[in-house]
């Protein structure tokens, strides 16, 4: 039996402008790719799926989290992954980087903030290799290596507006467009050391660009700075994949799910809070549009705690811990997969306004988890680093 672990040689990762780059998992080969959660380092540390955290945030999937950003703000999140693929005794280790999200906000009134975010939606970067042998006339055995490379992914740019209706209640909405492109290349190279002549590689490739619309609405409620509850609905229009550069075939259209996210945070003590969140989406419609494989509904949930009592050189040093579990939408090798694992994180509040609004901060989160699909098990370390600069 051919070992799947060896089939997938995951190469160096490349950041794309859209952020939907840097695949590092066998799972990226399933369906439309590996979903990229629009969650920053603080959210990662708390096991969050992206909404309902205390404070302010500027992430693609949360249109209302920026409502209290009273000064212009820029955020950026970077991610690194170290992954070990294992199947039986075969193992392969890879690492790579992502650029999951970039956000800009600008307060347009005392209660309203405009946001612009750009982030990855699906990661489609992966490589599959398969050694094989051929028998041609006159050549007993001709070794070949088949290599299938997918590069690129789906990203989304969103323009949003968040408005605080009252001290306890805020709403937000964002509209966006799918962007990005992917390229797929199959090559068969011949090991001509065993024959007298060179045999040129066979190549077959395709390239597609993505488009589509996105609408997200959300709301949050605060109860005396003790409890925050938030939720969002995201409606994805059909994801269109248009062939480019002479690629054969017609434009493909993928039905996309309605996605629901909800989260709640509660203050347990003056400097201690807890967060709980979940996300749900039904990808079965997308699965019906796939030529191969299928998809189903996914549930992601997580919880965490944050302690804000620590300081470093007089600066706030919040410490975080959490746990999260996510189901992945697309089947790979005929099986569905999920990932889960604990998270740890720390923040550093470099500068803040008198009212406590962060003007410069950085957050770091580390996750250790695993996921299995068919005979392959992946163990990963994922680090997420977020920066925020505001008030300029």
């Amino acid at each position: 039996m051919r070992t799947l672990g060896r089939l997938f040689a995951l190469g160096a990762l490349v950041s794309l402008p859209g952020g939907a780059a840097a695949g590092q998992s066998v799972l990226a080969a399933g369906g439309l790719g590996m979903p990229i959660d629009p969650v920053d380092a603080r959210g990662r540390s708390l096991g969050s799926v992206g909404v309902g955290l205390f404070g302010t945030g500027l992430m693609p999937g949360d249109p209302v989290g920026a409502v209290d950003l009273a000064v212009p703000t820029i955020t950026m999140t970077l991610q690194s992954v170290w992954l070990e693929l294992r199947e039986g005794t075969d193992a392969n280790t890879v690492e790579g980087n992502r650029f999951p999200a970039l956000g800009v906000s600008y307060p347009v009134s005392e209660r309203g903030v405009v946001t612009l975010t750009y982030g990855g939606v699906f990661d489609q970067h992966w490589t599959q290799e398969r050694p094989d042998t051929l028998h041609l006339e006159g050549n007993a055995v001709l070794p070949v290596v088949d290599r299938f490379t997918s590069d690129g992914g789906v990203s989304a740019a969103r323009l949003g507006y968040a408005h605080r209706l009252s001290p306890r209640f805020a709403v937000g909405a964002a509209v966006g467009l799918f962007t990005g492109s992917s390229a797929r290349l199959f090559t068969r190279t011949f090991d001509t050391l065993t024959v007298d002549v060179d045999i040129a590689a066979f190549a077959n490739s395709g390239r597609w660009s993505y488009s589509g619309t996105i609408l997200t609405v959300g709301a949050l409620a605060d109860i005396d700075d003790v409890v925050r509850a938030a939720g969002s609905f995201t409606w994805f229009g059909a994801l269109e994949a248009e062939p480019r550069h002479g690629t054969e075939g017609v434009t493909r259209s993928y039905d996309m799910p309605l996605e629901f996210r909800a989260g709640v945070s509660a203050r347990l003590a003056t400097e201690l809070s807890a967060a709980l969140s979940l996300a749900w989406a039904d990808w079965s419609g997308t699965g019906e549009d796939l030529a191969t494989g299928s998809a189903g509904s996914t549930l992601a949930f997580g919880a965490g705690v944050e302690w804000e009592g620590a300081t470093l050189f007089g600066k706030g040093l919040p410490l975080r811990a959490g746990w999260r579990r996510s189901e992945l939408p697309f089947e790979v090798f005929g099986a569905s997969a999920s990932e889960s694992g604990p998270n740890l994180g720390v923040g550093l509040l470099l500068l803040e306004r008198a009212d406590g609004l962060p003007l410069a901060s950085m957050d770091f989160g580390a996750e250790r988890g695993s996921r299995s699909v068919g005979p392959v098990t992946e163990h990963y370390w994922r680090s997420t680093l977020s920066f925020r600069v505001a008030g300029f």
Partner: protein, 416 residues
Amino acid sequence: MVTTPITIVDPLTFEVRLPWSEFASNLRIVGGYGKPAQTGTALLAHEFDNGLQARMLLRPGAYPTSVEVTDSLGNREEDHNISIISGSLWVTVDTTGVHHLGATDVRLDRLLEPWDARTATWALASESGGVQVPWSEPGGGAVERLRRLSWLPQGRDEILIGIDSVDVALLGDETVSERGLMVSIDNPGKLLHVPRVRMEVHVVPSINEDSTLVVPVDVTDLTYVYTPLAPPPSDIHLRAGGAPAWRSLFTFALPPSLPATGQVCVRTTCPVALTSARVNHASILLTTRPTDQAAFAPVDTMGVEVRGVLAPELLPKSPVTGPLFVDSLGLPSGTAVPAEAFRPGASRVVEVPITPIVRSLLAGASFRGFRPTPTVALMQLREPTSFGFASFVGPGQAGEPVLRLVLTISDPIGLP
């Protein structure tokens, strides 16, 4: 079976071999490319095989005008007052190609008629601008006998021919256009291949007159004249190489589709459309055959290649494309065929790759800046480099040229 992206593409590589009549036509064997002087080698023969006569002509370069010597005090000095008292000619013989062992009578003559190494032939002393100047008698014209010696090949691959002071002086006069030496052999049935010739003069300096110094002199002109020329192929076969060189010219007529059976036809429509993208490898399989005349049999490995003919309407003067393949040094790379393959009973099939030509013909695109032409030439690498030429079985005979194609088909690349 587990479905993976590669299994969805499902590539299939297979091989097809086409007989000559299904891929080529209009075979022509054309000779006359290059001159023996370009080989940098020489040939000596006397009534060999079919009566082959071959003589080596050479002309030395400028003699030294000074030498560096050590005086009685041990100091190194440049001495411009020197005397050239004699010379030596060293003729290296390829002993692996020596036919008929035994003593060979070697003759050294001084040429007495003006000659041009680049254009000299058995009949002509020179040819320039359409003006042909024949030798007064074929084979080098009138000569003055200088030396005659007997050479035995055992244990030695160099023939040493001494030149006395008078003859050395005459040879050194660069104002004389008939300046030159001719080396020949007198034994009927002999053939010697000469890969290298070198000359040296013996110099007595004015400082330290007791010593004689041996100073090498460049052989600036080296060629050979021979008769008769190799006749055109007596039957239909391919020929490449020689000096002047032969080329086998033919025209590709690639079919739009290829016959296939079995698994290939399960995967795609048969016959299979022949496209550039599907061709991984294309080559011509040639079967070697003994050279018609032993005199023209290769004595060393022959490199052969195929190049595109850029202007078939100008043949035989048409330029050809650059080499299809080059080695790590950027030099043309072809198929090496050992000399043994052209001996009776030693025929073998050799493969000459032509993938770029077939791909460009199928794509209709330019190749190395030129539009592809279906006319190609089978020729020797870096022609002319050898007197002997390669012979291959021609169309319509057992072992005729075959086009070998390795192709890969796959399903289109798509999104999941």
